[in-house]
């Protein structure tokens, strides 16, 4: 049996924490650990920053105007 490691547990909680799909209790536990553990805090901060960056990077390319026109032309013609 492996001993309980708070950092391993914190890593397991990282994805649900960031995706906001954990219970209030789990969130409080994770935050209590983050308060006292520099290593995990660093990891969470990096991960959060990275997600923001990825989100911004992929939203850069707007839909071509011609495509918008083409899509509108697929509508059912009015009788």
């Amino acid at each position: 049996m492996t001993a309980y490691d708070p950092c391993t547990h914190c890593e397991e909680m990282m994805q649900p924490y960031m995706d906001r799909v954990i219970t209030d209790l789990e969130r409080a536990e994770a935050e209590a650990h983050l308060d006292e553990c520099t290593y995990c805090r660093k990891r969470y901060k990096f991960e959060e920053k990275l997600r923001q960056f990825v989100r911004q990077a992929v939203q850069h390319e707007p839909m071509p105007v011609e495509l918008k026109t083409k899509l509108a032309s697929l509508r059912t013609p009015l009788q």
Partner: protein
């Protein structure tokens, strides 16, 4: 009190009235769907490898959506409904099977990218600044390297802002699978970003 419309009127001309209602519902559906096209495109663009493919897929999706608008339940999530059509069409198009790349050994875990970025820099190890070493192109290129099954989930959740439940419904897979693919997909993405970021500095 709200009065009911004259019943005799409806019984006499049911078809004309029905047709008018249907036409109005259809027009509203089409307008709502088109209003979401930017958001749908953003997801489509990163589900497939190229802009051309994304444009084709968008047209097929909208053509199908406009044909089968009656199967949409008003009041439910139209963006998810459109993306369900789109992801199904994308799978039907026979996208190429990709091999899942080996992820980094567990001991390095998710911190692989951070370590790489930190090591490649000028000693700046601030976890916020270190991300700035990546370029937009690094991210887009890395995303296209993530195998489809994993990419679908990462794109829906991280680009499309869908919940796990919506992603599960769109892709017709259990929520547990969404979570595990998301975890794996994000790791593959980070690994690919690490490789392209470090690679571009070395060249």
């Amino acid at each position: 009190m709200v009065g009911w419309p004259e019943m005799s009127e409806t019984t006499r001309e049911p078809d004309a009235r029905q047709l008018a209602t249907e036409a109005r519902d259809r027009v509203r559906f089409e307008e709502d769907a088109l209003a979401l096209s930017d958001q749908v495109y953003r997801v489509a663009r990163h589900l497939v490898g190229s802009r051309e493919e994304a444009e084709d897929l968008m047209q097929e999706t909208y053509a199908r959506a406009f044909r089968s608008w009656r199967s949409f339940t008003p009041g439910t999530n139209l963006r998810a409904w459109l993306l369900r059509i789109l992801t199904n069409l994308n799978i039907d198009r026979g996208r190429k099977q990709q091999r899942t790349p080996d992820t980094q050994p567990l001991e390095e875990g998710d911190y692989f990218l951070y370590n790489k970025l930190e090591a490649s820099g000028d000693g700046v190890s601030d976890e916020e600044r270190v991300v700035e070493r990546l370029s937009q192109n690094d991210v887009v290129a890395a995303l296209s390297e993530v195998p489809h099954d994993f990419r679908d989930v990462v794109v829906l959740v991280d680009v499309g802002d869908f919940t796990y439940a919506d992603a599960a419904q769109i892709l017709d897979i259990p929520i547990g699978t969404v979570m595990s693919r998301l975890h794996r997909g994000r790791r593959i993405l980070k690994q690919a970003m690490a490789e392209s970021a470090v690679g571009s500095e070395e060249s």
